[in-house]
Symmetry: C2
């Protein structure tokens, strides 16, 4: 734990790196006229449609918070609520065409920016970092808030 010079512990490293990622994410969202939360919503929905419940669990939001987020995304034409054929109470939130296009652009821009954060690392270091973060992500069952590769 005792560190000298520029060295950081894992904890401070994780927190500060997150801060960087958040900033980059916010900048990217802003570039596309989105809020961070809207950007996250789009990225999640790029994978597949979600019901409100699953969506809340994935994003870590209460259902009451989600209604408004989805409302605003609907108002902007990014997302649609479709009735669930198997359950008349439930709803599937789906990207519209416009929403998908924007999501893909935003996703790509964000990837580029986050990638630049790691620009100073050598290729083997990048691989090592990816492996270690992958461990953390899977051990803690991080939800799929950001796809690894874009699949259409």
């Amino acid at each position: 734990m005792g560190k000298r010079g520029e060295d950081l512990g894992v904890v401070a490293g994780l927190v500060r790196a997150s801060f960087l990622v958040n900033a980059v994410y916010a900048e990217s969202a802003r570039e596309y006229g989105l809020t961070v939360q809207q950007g996250q919503l789009l990225c999640v929905l790029m994978g597949r449609p979600y019901g409100m419940g699953d969506l809340g669990a994935t994003l870590g939001l209460e259902k009451s918070s989600l209604t408004g987020l989805v409302d605003r995304a609907v108002r902007r034409g990014l997302v649609r609520r479709e009735p669930d054929p198997d359950d008349r109470r439930a709803v599937q939130v789906v990207l519209t065409g416009e929403g998908r296009d924007l999501a893909e652009d935003f996703y790509a821009a964000t990837c580029r920016r986050v990638d630049e954060l790691a620009a100073g690392l050598s290729t083997p270091d990048r691989d090592r970092l990816a492996g270690l973060l992958g461990l953390i992500v899977s051990e803690n069952e991080a939800p799929t808030v950001f796809l690894d590769t874009v699949q259409r």
Copy 2:
């Protein structure tokens, strides 16, 4: 870039790990009756007092956003605005005693929780991860939003 199985690229790893850290940070803040932003404010001020300008630069906020954040922190008795002796326009934002106590508790709890995220890693892996994140943090000049070691 082509990945198989559970492997993640650096980008997705960074984004999802950040999501985990954010969640943990939020949970920790909530435990202490703070918002995430208030928690961040306290953590920054643990290091030293800041003027509004520097504080905004460090937190990545516009000055107009900061006024309210500091106002609410003042209202909760966590923080004080002190006149800058050298510049009568300027203000120094300082932790109150209560604010410092809460900051330290919150900081410790957050450290514990973030540390648990990395609990699955071996000691050498933790060191490697710390080193790689440290590189990213210093290459991108991440502001001191989270101290490495607590200094009083």
